[in-house]
């Protein structure tokens, strides 16, 4: 049976496990109908021109994993940022693991989507924000239909999340093939602030297909820093759909570090709904083998005097494929916009491919919008310079690549995370950089 049919027929069983009288029931039922008519995207769609899901969809994924909660902290410690105190939301095969997690309700809510959806206390927030900015397409609707678990984070007005929040999704490989659909909702109210780190990790080589949807709402003057670590096994595929809505003077940044996984697709969308917003989207991609990373970004400038910055760096080795499809859309009311988009790539192998499509759609005249895209290789003269000073070729190359990616790293505001990423880059490049580790 095709995955699409399987999902549609599983939906009934899925719904029965819930309170069918709740408001969410209707949202889910509508969503599954949408998915039924839209289906999975194909390469014929312009946005999926360079990314085919065929190899991902061919597996017979199980949709309802058996409950298995046997992971111990020591098994997963290395996947966490463990050297600082953080709130943690750990999910194993899509199911919340309470003994590995650390939640709070003290001034801020860091808890579960399942409880937020069921408890009346959270109803106003769910009513106001749940599924409000997610455009209808096959993958989003599919996630909405099966939305049940994920992170629910609500930072109340004038509050500061006192420590970073980690959202970690593990898949254990108890199933031969597993599909998980986390659904996260993050609401950061006026004048509040939060730092969030998200990670998806497979623990075995069984195929995993994650179709995740995250909605982020930043209130007036809110500050949200969001980091995604994508360093999964070659059997894991991830489609990450993230939607960020910003109010006046809010500052949001999204850093995506893609170091592994069979197929990774990031659909990242920023909607600016107030003046003087600032959006930052940065990413480092270092992949090899037959891996495929696709960054699809959108910044929708609706109000005047806003800024957006995009900076994506990619290093591609062996048979890997990189895709960058960035779009800046400036509405005609959005005057005095400053939008910058940059995509730089290095190809290390003739079998590697990069497809880049940086787009600008501009309807306002008083704007400064620019984009740049480069594809090239390491500068021979720089390499020679380093080697003339006794640095071996491999290290010299690594050093240059590190420098290439550095201005994305620079803006990471959690020092421990920065350190972690740096050492991961060093590992990727097969050298010890000997600094900042």
């Amino acid at each position: 049976m095709e995955l699409k049919d399987k999902l549609i027929s599983s939906f009934l069983a899925f719904e029965e496990a819930f309170d069918v009288d709740s408001d969410i029931h209707e949202v889910r039922s509508n969503a599954i109908k949408e998915f039924e008519s839209l289906g999975f995207p194909s390469k014929k769609e312009e946005d999926w021109k360079y990314t085919s899901l065929n190899t991902v969809l061919k597996h017979d994924y199980s949709v309802f994993p058996k409950k298995e909660d046997a992971l111990e902290y020591r098994d997963i410690k290395k996947y966490l940022i463990h050297d600082i105190d953080t709130y943690k939301l750990v999910f194993i095969d899509g199911i919340y693991s309470s003994h590995l997690s650390e939640t709070t309700h003290d001034k801020i809510d860091v808890c579960l989507m399942s409880s937020a959806l069921s408890k009346s206390k959270y109803k106003p927030i769910i009513d106001a924000y749940f599924n409000k900015i997610v455009p209808k397409n096959g993958l989003n609707s599919l996630n909405t239909a099966f939305s049940k678990e994920g992170a629910f984070i609500h930072i109340h007005k004038n509050k500061l999340a006192d420590k970073p929040i980690q959202i970690v999704n593990f898949s254990t490989g108890n199933e031969s093939a597993l599909m998980v659909q986390p659904r996260n909702l993050i609401v950061v109210d006026e004048n509040s602030q939060a730092q969030i780190i998200e990670r998806h990790q497979s623990l075995t080589d069984h195929p995993v297909f994650t179709n995740s949807v995250t909605e982020i709402f930043a209130g007036k003057r809110a500050i949200v820093d969001y980091y995604k670590i994508q360093n999964d096994r070659a059997s894991a595929s991830l489609i990450d759909n993230t939607f960020v809505e910003q109010q006046e003077e809010s500052v949001c940044s999204m850093h995506t570090f893609s170091f592994g996984g069979k197929l990774t697709r990031n659909n990242l969308n920023f909607y600016q709904r107030g003046e003087r917003c600032d959006s930052t989207m940065k990413g480092i991609t270092i992949i090899e083998d037959k891996q495929h990373v696709d960054h699809n970004t959108l910044v929708h400038h609706i109000f005047p005097n806003c800024e957006s910055h995009q900076d994506y760096k990619g290093i591609f080795d062996e048979n890997s494929t990189g895709v960058f499809n960035g779009k800046v859309l400036v509405e005609k009311e959005a005057q005095k916009i400053n939008a910058f988009q940059s995509n730089n790539n290095i190809l290390l192998d003739d079998k590697a491919t990069i497809n880049s499509k940086p787009q600008l759609e501009i309807f306002a005249d008083d704007v400064k919008c620019s984009h740049g895209c480069t594809i090239g290789q390491l500068d021979e003269e720089s390499l020679f310079y380093l080697r003339a000073r006794g640095i071996p070729l491999k290290e010299a190359r690594a050093l240059l690549m590190y420098a290439f990616a550095n201005n994305v790293l620079e803006s990471v505001r959690i020092p421990e995370l920065k350190k972690r990423i740096t050492s991961q880059i060093a590992l990727k490049l097969g050298v010890s950089l000997g600094f900042d580790l």
Partner: protein, 481 residues
């Protein structure tokens, strides 16, 4: 009172199409509609050999199965292909001995356009193969060219007289099933130009053709084939104006360039078809397929100044097949009122050490939409390929839009590809700087627009620059300078 950008905008909006007039010449027009019989009839009318008729029919059959493309960033009412007459030729078609014998009315048309044949002959030294409603009316300088072995004639003549060349090359760069409009053109093309430059010959003059759409309700389906044999050089100019008509006119041309080893082709276009009136009514639909292929060490350079047409859909492309070949694309696209342009280029790098340069300048005013859409593709065997692309857009007023859709596909690690794009308006600081130096605002805007597009204007051949300036005047520059 100081001249401001608002004034400029107002002027642009009210500027009527100056070249909108209609020549009343009896035309020999086919009934509307398209079917195999019409295709056969066109072929017969043109006294074409059997293979050509078959070729057209094949294209027609392919076209029937095709769907009109919708991916371009333009919106328009689709033409009804069964409501178009596919052939129209000026009725009086004697072979003129001298220019004096040309229909005076027709000549007056050209005079009004400022392309007096005599003037061209005497001053510019340009050979003009004038295509008026699809059939060559006058060809000049043919003798001089013939001495060098250069063939420059209408494509129907070439089919009759040089079938071996046409047969070999037609459809070799733009296959007849390439796309919807190319297939349509292949089936029904009425005429066009053919040019062959023999080995090692440097064409002594700029070859030029003026296209005009004249008869109301006739689509224009031009077919141009330029072949530059090994080591030759040719500069080819194509310029267009069309009279003001209310219905939308369809233009689906195909241009094929073949640059063999060490050859160079420079192809320049000034396009100023009727863009529709201020309310966006009427105007020409311009759906053109232009493509060139470069063999070893060859070079193809496209330069275009696009100021007209209601809807433009045009991507002059280069296939850089041979090693060390070079492709260039320089473009200025100006849109005003309700014009829509989706234009750009494709650079396909196949050979080693291939280079391409793309410079695209878009100026949008009024309620127009101006898009750049380009593809740079470096294939895995194209070692040391190099591309530089620059797309700049200038917006005037907040009712227009400027869009950039670059596609960059690289499969070779030694490739160096750079793309940059900017969008901005004329900066107040720029105007202030000029004002400070005693240049009034009007002149300053002219200066800035001029400077903005000079990169491309400079690439036009001398003889053409005059025409280009004139057309820019109508669209933008003239109204401020």
């Amino acid at each position: 009172m100081a001249y401001t950008e608002d004034d400029l905008k107002k002027e642009l909006e009210t500027k009527e199409y100056e070249y909108g007039f209609y020549t009343d010449i009896e035309s020999d027009t086919f009934p509307v509609g398209l079917n195999e019989d019409i295709v056969r009839a066109i072929s017969k009318k043109k006294e074409e050999p059997e293979w050509m008729t078959e070729w057209r029919l094949e294209a027609y059959r392919a076209w029937e199965k095709m769907i009109e493309p919708e991916w371009a960033n333009v919106h328009y009412t689709k033409p009804d292909f069964q409501n178009i007459s596919y052939y129209s030729a000026p009725n009086k078609k004697p072979k003129y001995e001298s220019l004096d014998e040309v229909d005076p009315e027709l000549r007056a048309t050209f005079e009004k356009l400022g392309i007096s044949l005599d003037e061209q002959k005497a001053l510019a030294g340009v050979a003009v193969d004038i295509v008026m409603d699809s059939v060559s009316v006058a060809t000049t300088f043919k003798k001089t060219l013939a001495e060098k072995g250069i063939i420059f004639c209408s494509i129907s003549e070439a089919i009759k007289e040089h079938p071996e060349l046409v047969k070999k090359y037609i459809g070799s760069v733009v296959p007849k099933k390439d796309n919807f409009y190319a297939a349509l053109n292949s089936a029904v093309f009425s005429d066009g130009s053919f040019c062959y430059i023999p080995k090692g010959v440097r064409c002594p003059m700029e070859l030029s053709t003026y296209f005009r759409i004249n008869q109301a309700g006739t689509g224009q389906f031009e077919r141009t084939l330029v072949i530059a044999d090994e080591g030759s050089y040719v500069s080819y100019l194509e310029g267009c104006t069309a009279p003001s008509r209310d219905e939308n006119q369809l233009h689906a041309a195909v241009v094929e360039l073949i640059a063999l080893d060490d050859a160079e082709i420079k192809y320049s276009t000034v396009q100023n078809w009727f863009p529709g009136n201020k309310e966006g009514k009427g105007g020409v639909y311009n759906f053109v397929t232009k493509r060139g292929i470069c063999e070893k060490n060859a070079k193809i350079s496209w330069t275009q100044v696009e100021t007209g047409s209601a809807v433009t859909w045009k991507y002059p492309s280069c296939i850089l097949k041979g090693d060390n070949s070079i492709g260039e694309f320089y473009s200025i696209a100006v849109t005003n009122n309700f014009q829509q342009a989706d234009t750009g280029t494709k650079m396909i790098h196949l050979g080693k050490n291939t280079k391409s340069t793309i410079i695209s300048k878009g100026i949008s005013a009024g309620k127009s939409q101006n898009s750049y859409r380009g593809l740079v593709q470096i294939n895995s065997r194209a070692e040391n390929a190099r591309n530089f692309s620059q797309c700049d857009s200038l917006l005037m007023g907040n009712k227009c839009g400027a869009h950039t859709f670059p596609y960059i596909e690289v499969k070779n690690k030694s490739a160096q590809v750079e793309h940059e794009a900017t969008t901005s308006k004329i900066g107040e600081d720029q105007i202030f700087y000029c004002n400070q130096r005693g240049i009034d605002t009007e002149k300053a805007i002219a200066l800035i627009v001029n400077g903005f597009s000079k990169d491309v204007l400079n690439k036009l051949p001398m003889e053409f620059a005059v025409e280009a300036q004139k057309l820019l005047e109508i669209s933008l520059e003239g109204s401020v300078g």
